[in-house]
Subunit: 365 residues, 2 copies
C-alpha cells in the first residue's frame, strides 16, 4: 500500500511576522484557502486513504497539526522531540509504517511547498510507484525541470536512462548542492539537471535497509526507539533517543553515497515532475505564485494603495493597510506585529528577528 | 473676569489614521501625556478657574470633549451644529459668557496647537489682559516671531508702537494670508511681521459690538439664538440658526476690515509671544516638536528599526511595528488601520482618504 509521509518539521523566520516559532511556514495560508500543510495532505487525499497518511512534526507543533488536519488517524502525527533533519525523520516514519505494513511504499514529501495541479502530482507519484513495484531496490526522486539558474536549490544530475516500457526515468549520477549562478547556468545548458524537490518514493523496508547500511548509528537509535513501540515508555524512549540521532539529510546521509558508489543502474532514480512546483522560500516568492494586480502588487486583505508598486501587502482581520509611495516592499500586518521591509532582503529580516530576541521582544517570535 | 474660550471645532485628515471624523486632531495625544485639547485647558488652569473655561466644538464631538475634560462646568461645552469658521464660534461663546459676566475678558485660543512653557503663555496672556484693561476697545492678537519663511501661515504686520508704560505692543497695520516663500522671506527681513497664532484677547462686549458692526447678518443670527437662551427651545434654535450664519473667520470678517479702516491706533494690537508655538500641522511636524533619536527617527510605542532613518513611527497597544530600509516615511499603526506614507506628502494623504471613502471604507475615516 502507498503511504504518504509529510515532513512538517520546518522552522524559520523568512515569513515573519506571519510565521512564528509556534506556527512556522507549513501552517500558514500563503496561497489558496488552506495552509501549505493542509494542501500537502489534500493533494493526496482520498486517492491515498487517510489511514495511510502520517505527518512528522516537532513535538511543539503536534497540537497545531491536529487542529489543521483533524481527520488524521490517531497516532499518525509523529512528534519529533527536536529537529534532526530528514534522515531521522524519514527513518522514524518508515519504521512506524513498516510495523503494520511490511510491504508499504512511502511517498515522502515536505509540508511547505506549493504544488499544482494535483492531477499532475498524482500522475508523477503513480509513475514513481510503478518504478518501485518493478524495482524493489529503487529510491525514486522527483526532479523539477529548472526554470532559471537558481542558486538556492540542490540539483540532481541524471545519468543513464532506465530501460524498459516504464515512464521516462534516469539513474542519478550525482547530487550538487546550491551552485553559484555560473555553475547553475552551465547545469541548465546540459539539459541533464533537475532541481531536487525533496520528494521521494521507495519501499519502507528498503529505506530502513539503506539507513542500516549508510547510517548505522542512526539506525541503532531507531531500533532502540522501536524496541519500546506501543509500550508506555515509548514517548520517553523517543524523547531520550531521538535527540541523540545524528542530524543529517537523507540526501547527504544515504542517497549521495549510494549514488556515488556506482550501485547497479537504477537504484537511485530521478523522474521529471510534470507539476508546477515552488518552495515559497520567502515573501518575495508570493508574486510568482499568487500573481500581481495591475499595479504589480500582490495583496491580501483590506488594503488601499496610492503610488505603490511591486509590493507584497498582507493584512488580516479587516485591519486596513494603506500605503503611499512604496516600491518593492513587503508589508505584513498580523494582530500583534507589523513588518515593513524591502523585498528580498532576507539577511536584514534575520537580523531583525535576532534584534527582537536581544531586546526581550521574543513574545513576537 | 478672564474667561478661556477653547475653539475645538477642527476636523481634517492630516493625522489619519490616528485622527478620525469622530476624533480629530485636537483630541489626539501627539506630544506629551495629554491630548492637545487637554493641554489647551491645562495650561490655563487653575489660574483661570474652571468655571471660566468653555470649549466650543462640533455637536458630534461633545461627548469626546466631556470625556477628555470631565471637570468642565455643565453647559460649558458649547455644541456647534456645524462648522462655520471662527467668527460664529467666537460670537456664540462671547454672547454666552457676556450673559453672566458683562465685563468678561475673553482669551480665545485654538484647541490643537502645541504651546510651551505654560509660564510664558500665562505671561503673554497677562500682558494682553493689561492692555485690554487699559484700552477697553482693543483686540489683542498674539504674534509668533517667525522662525523661517513659512508659506502655510497667516502673517500679521505690525505698525506703530503702542505708547505708555505697558508691555511692548504694536498696532496691526495689516494681515497677510499664506504668502509665497519669496514674500515670506521679505516679510521676515523687515522684522515687522509675526505669524498669526489665532489667539485673541478682548472684552466679550467689545467683540460682540464688532460683530454687530462688521457682520450684521451674523450678529442678527446670534441674537435670534440668544433670544431662546435658557429656554427649552434653545438647542432647536441653535440647530436651526447656526447653520444659516455666514461661514467666515474672525480675521477676515472683523479684524482685517477693522485694521484696514485705519481705526484709532491701538484698536487692533499685536503682542509678541514669548512662548514656543507649533500648530502641529501634519505628521511631518512631530520630529520638530518631539525630537528624534540617534537614527533620526521619532518613535512612539513598541518598535524595532533596522536601516531606518528620518521616519515617524507610531504604534499603540503593544503592537510591534518593525521596519527595515525605510527613509523619511511615516508609519502609523492604530487598532484598525495602518498608514505607510512618505513624510510631507499631504496631497497624497488627502487622496488616500478620498479613495477610502470612494471604495466604501468610510468606517476607517
Amino acid at each position: 500500500m502507498l503511504h504518504l509521509i509529510i515532513m512538517a518539521g520546518g522552522s524559520g523566520t523568512r515569513f515573519w511576522p506571519e510565521s512564528r516559532r509556534a506556527r512556522p511556514k507549513q501552517f500558514l495560508t500563503l496561497a489558496g484557502e488552506r495552509s501549505l500543510l493542509q494542501q500537502a495532505a489534500d493533494r493526496c487525499h482520498p486517492w491515498i486513504p487517510v489511514e495511510q497518511i502520517s505527518v512528522v512534526t516537532n513535538a511543539a507543533h503536534v497540537a497545531e497539526t491536529n487542529r489543521q488536519l483533524p481527520h488524521l488517524t490517531r497516532g499518525h502525527v509523529v512528534p519529533e522531540p527536536c529537529g534532526r533533519n530528514t534522515a531521522p525523520c524519514i527513518g522514524l516514519a518508515a519504521w512506524q509504517v513498516a510495523q503494520d505494513d511490511p510491504d508499504a511504499v512511502l511517498l515522502v514529501t515536505p509540508a511547505d511547498h506549493l504544488i499544482r495541479p494535483e492531477a499532475e502530482f498524482r500522475a508523477t507519484v503513480e509513475r514513481a510507484v510503478r518504478i518501485v513495484q518493478d524495482r524493489p531496490q529503487a529510491s525514486v526522486l522527483f526532479g523539477i525541470p529548472p526554470a532559471y539558474p537558481a542558486t538556492g536549490y540542490g540539483y540532481i544530475e541524471r545519468g543513464a536512462p532506465i530501460g524498459g516500457n516504464g515512464p521516462p526515468a534516469w539513474a542519478v549520477s550525482r547530487f550538487r548542492e546550491k551552485p553559484d549562478e555560473a555553475t547553475a547556468t552551465s547545469f541548465i545548458a546540459t539539459g541533464n539537471f533537475y532541481w531536487n524537490a525533496g520528494i521521494f518514493v521507495w519501499r519502507a523496508a528498503r529505506i530502513l535497509e539503506l539507513l542500516a547500511e549508510f547510517q548505522p548509528a542512526l539506525y541503532a537509535g531507531l531500533e532502540r526507539i522501536a524496541a519500546r513501540a506501543k509500550s508506555a515508555g515509548w514517548e520517553t524512549a523517543l524523547a531520550e533517543e531521538f535527540s541523540k540521532l545524528p542530524s543529517i539529510s537523507i540526501d547527504n546521509g544515504v542517497l549521495e553515497p549510494l549514488a556515488a558508489r556506482g550501485t547497479p543502474a537504477g537504484s537511485v532514480i530521478v523522474i521529471p515532475a510534470s507539476f508546477e512546483w515552488d518552495d515559497v522560500g520567502s515573501w518575495q516568492a508570493l508574486p510568482k505564485v499568487l500573481g500581481t494586480d495591475a499595479a504589480g502588487n500582490t495583496v491580501a486583505g483590506t488594503t488601499c494603495q496610492i503610488d505603490t508598486s511591486g509590493c507584497v501587502i498582507r493584512t488580516t482581520g479587516d485591519h486596513l493597510v494603506a500605503t503611499i509611495g512604496l516600491k518593492d516592499f513587503v508589508v505584513v500586518h498580523t494582530p500583534d506585529a507589523t513588518l515593513i521591509a524591502p523585498q528580498g532582503d532576507e539577511a536584514a529580516l534575520r537580523k531583525l528577528v535576532a534584534l527582537l530576541e536581544e531586546r526581550g521582544h521574543s513574545r513576537f517570535l
